[in-house]
Subunit: 580 residues, 2 copies
């Protein structure tokens, strides 16, 4: 039973569900539903899919997450960055004739779901660590810019899309120009939404409305924009005047079913599915963790993989596209008082009602309204000052971040995030290949040994002591070889080299081989190789290898013991002197 | 001038060149030349190229390395593993009709040379650290097995080649069967070479020959095998009896010139060129370093990149294929007394003479003789006991090694080495995401703080101290978030968390962001976040960021100070007690 509760968190919170919790969850669900309707439609447009796919992405996936997820407040559904990644993954597959867009999107969601579930079962969540913070933050900023630029075309009636900044710019500079009626609606909605986002709630509170009411009204602004522009569109027959409309949306619920996929399609979508899984997981966990901490709850990253995986499998089986936990929506859910994942399930019911009864209205909705919704939502993702902060902290991290941003803008989302990951791993290796180390000497009158280039210390020409401040592994094994080779080559009278290992937590097989090589080479050069201050667990493992048998020198418990025993201590304690 | 000497090491050793050095270099060159003639022909066959390409690979590339290389004894030229990688890179390009084999091999050498020079100029030698020892060792073992299996077909007269073990096995099990005359020669040469390698030298010495003479004769065994089998082939007209012969080899020197290449060819060869560069560099530097240490010399890894790069550029411009420093040949060169890179230049002259005057003889040489030469040479590369050694040391390293071997045998050299590199980087991330850390408490009566699960220590429910034993970076930043989240969630009365950082040498932007997130989340949960024992340089950088401004707690010089100042020390010193 405990095992089952672990896999199905709903058994845990469900057994203690009461009326008060129900009320809180329901209120939160109403607010989130109001927010989610326009977003669902907008992100479907961003993903270059029919609008109902967005609504479907907000029904079954939310139910699935409510069953398996650990976060009590994470609001799962379509989000901007993942929708852009979906569009960018689907486009080449469609133009290669491998599948239609909807099939490709469903297969992408299924694959992403399967990968997430697999990672969860195999406890491979650590793979997400590949995405360093500068890379993910640069990626999201660049995606936000790319999305906003791409939607400008829809906003102004020039046609939208484009998966790289040059593509978007070249489309925007095409000669057909701005469509005045569309641009009027688009810019009007944009200004209204911006006002609603930043000014409406304080204004309503000043006008005497209660906090909750003010919140609901402010959150409802995008829905109001939809109704108002639908009304305008119908009154003035804007469709006939050349304003691009959403068009017929079938009323009804998604019919569960699997898309038809062949191996070619699966192979073509695999890299994108992997990137979508990782990006979605990293974003989602970060949001969930931040919100959980506020109530001293915790989320299980491996269980989160299962929750998100189930949500995406549900998306792939119900005519939708990849989903993940959205930041803004989750914060709204939290602020509105959601207490359990049931709030997500209630939201799903709300969206299902919308899909049943609202759909017929949407045909007359101008696309520009959705474009404005998207632009307002994604501009909050853009964090250019982060570039300055990261620059001040570390040039390496800045390089990874800038590369991610430039590659994403110039060559699209997959190139951008791949470049960022590769560059950050390269930089890790670069750092690892320049580990902290110091030649040390004795601080006079003490048993302490310090860096000779920073302290006044005693050294001897016959013994050289090198301290390494990091675990030894293949990233820095060659550095150690080079360093000791250089020290040995520059010190003609040298008889002993002592490697001081107080910070070495681990030695991998490459480093062990390097130590053995160093030992052999020093032996050839008539120099004995010693170790000192080796940590207990490392020493235990060395004893089980044949390294110690071949070692020309000894292993000393302390550096001071090494210097005294090698007969070279500038200032040995009374006991050591006696022994000497 | 000093700068110039740095780039052209020949100016350094050349200025002190004398008659005794000349004598020593010349003797070594004679021995290496005798060894290199059959190897050049054999490795050309292994690379699926005409035999003269092997001779050309041993002329200009050696001259170029003598100018730019830092190792005094490294013998550059065609080697088994790189020849196999060449064959495997060239085959798909040829079958796709992008170029003929010789053009593709020359372009590959040029690209590899250019990459090596670029890495040398940009000091990117650290990229070679990607290749952990288990991966390179597994790769060489698997390549040796693959080469030996592939040559069995030539040895037995069944036709050879095949870039994966399944391909080789299926070829060997084809019904046409063994060709008796070919197999007779092949097996005969194999037994003779094995005998010469392991028994001949001691036998000759026992028979009264001098050491040098015995060495030269033993080393000449492959050349003798060539002459004897050529004589047999001519006497019995073996070619007419179905024994595969080398065929016409044009007499003469390579004519320098660039191959014709288009972008499609360059793109197709780029990954292989990169892998060949890295594998060649890693092998070469390891050999050079081992030999240099014996004379307390040192080699410069970045200059070595230039030397090998120049050698490969020369190969690409003189009708040859990628080269690198060979292990066996370099050891022979060293043992024979080579003192400067001039020995390599003299070897080049020796091979040039062979290309001029020996070539006409080679037409009648049975391919089986070369196959036997290759098999004897590569079986010494196979080190299966290394699997057991690595298994005993570390399961992770064993996994990387086994994956490399299996992927190389099953899917070829490029898949093998890529799988090894990817897996070892994954395992680094896995290790990083499980860093050494411990919740610590006070050892009674002391100012020391130790792991609570290993020592009898004093703790308090209001303060929790966590020590991390590694630098904080994106690989372990999320671990830290999860760990602290878990600790906070399980400790209801907690008011303070102290992160003890005595081993933190570095904090990257991801980890800084994680620390800030941890701080914010703990603040939301009513817990203050403190640091203790932060190293000087790390503290300096933290002061320049805005992290400390937002920190809810304090930074303490020592863990003991932290516990006393937080009013929770089980046993504080007299001063701290007064302050409390």
């Amino acid at each position: 039973m405990k095992q089952l509760r672990h896999w199905l968190p709903i058994l845990d919170w469900g057994s203690r569900y009461d009326r008060a919790t129900f009320g809180a969850d329901l209120l939160a669900a109403v607010i989130v539903t109001i927010m989610l309707i326009p977003q669902s439609l907008a992100y479907a447009m961003l993903a270059a899919l029919p609008p109902e796919a967005g609504l479907y992405a907000s029904i079954l996936p939310l139910m699935a997450y409510a069953l398996f997820g650990t976060s009590r407040v994470l609001a799962v559904g379509p989000v901007a960055v993942v929708s852009l990644m979906t569009a960018s993954a689907v486009a080449p597959v469609v133009s290669a004739g491998l599948a239609d867009a909807m099939t490709a999107a469903m297969v992408l969601a299924l694959m992403s779901g399967a990968m997430l579930v697999l990672m969860g079962l195999l406890r491979l969540g650590f793979v997400a660590n590949f995405l360093s913070h500068p890379v993910i933050s640069g990626f999201i900023t660049a995606s936000g810019l790319l999305i906003a630029a791409g939607q400008l075309g829809y906003l102004l009636g020039m046609g939208g899309g484009g998966s790289t900044l040059p593509a978007v710019v070249s489309r925007l500079s095409e000669p057909q120009g701005v469509h005045p009626a569309t641009a009027g609606i688009g810019v009007g909605v944009l200004v209204f939404l911006w006002f609603a986002r930043s000014r409406l709630k304080p204004l309503l509170i000043r006008l005497g409305l209660g906090m909750t009411m003010a919140t609901v009204i402010a959150r409802a602004a995008p829905v109001m924009a939809i109704f108002v522009t639908i009304a305008l569109s119908k009154s003035f027959d804007l469709g006939a005047k050349g304003v691009a409309l959403v068009g017929q949306v079938p009323a009804g619920l998604p019919v569960p079913g699997l898309p038809a996929a062949d191996m070619a399609l699966i192979f073509a979508l695999a890299p994108a599915a992997f990137l979508i899984s990782i990006v979605g997981f990293v974003e989602s966990v970060s949001v969930a963790r931040t919100l959980a901490a506020k109530r001293r709850e915790r989320i299980g990253p491996d269980q989160e993989l299962l929750g998100l995986g189930a949500a995406n499998l549900a998306a792939g089986m119900s005519g939708a596209f990849p989903v993940t936990g959205g930041f803004a929506r989750s914060v709204v859910n939290f602020d509105a008082g959601a207490r359990t994942p049931a709030a997500g399930a209630f939201t799903a019911i709300g969206i299902a009602l919308a899909a049943l009864y609202l759909a017929p209205l949407l045909a007359a909705l101008p696309q520009a309204t959705l474009a404005a919704t998207i632009i307002v939502a994604v501009l909050s993702l853009v964090d250019l000052p982060a570039l300055a902060r990261v620059w001040a902290w570390s040039r390496h991290d800045f390089a990874a971040m800038l590369a991610t941003i430039l590659m994403t803008l110039g060559f699209g989302v997959e190139a951008g995030i791949s470049a960022g990951v590769v560059l950050s791993i390269l930089l890790v290796l670069w750092r690892a290949s320049h580990p902290h180390s110091a030649v040390v000497g004795q601080v006079p009158g003490t048993e302490h040994y310090r860096n000779i280039s920073r302290h006044q210390v005693i050294t001897t020409p016959r013994v050289l002591s090198l301290r390494v401040d990091e675990s030894l592994w293949f990233g820095n094994a060659r550095f150690l070889e080079e360093k000791i080779e250089a020290l040995a080559a520059c010190s003609p009278g040298l008889k002993h080299i002592v490697l001081m290992c107080p910070a070495v937590n681990d030695i991998d097989a490459s480093a062990l081989e390097s130590l053995a090589d160093i030992n052999r080479r020093l032996m050839d050069a008539g120099i004995r190789f010693h170790l000192s201050e080796v940590k207990g667990p490392v020493m235990d493992r060395l004893r089980r290898s044949d390294f110690l048998a071949g070692l020309s020198g000894e292993v000393f418990l302390s550096q001071h013991e090494a210097m005294c025993r090698l007969g070279e201590g500038g200032d040995c304690g009374p006991e050591a002197r006696k022994a000497g």
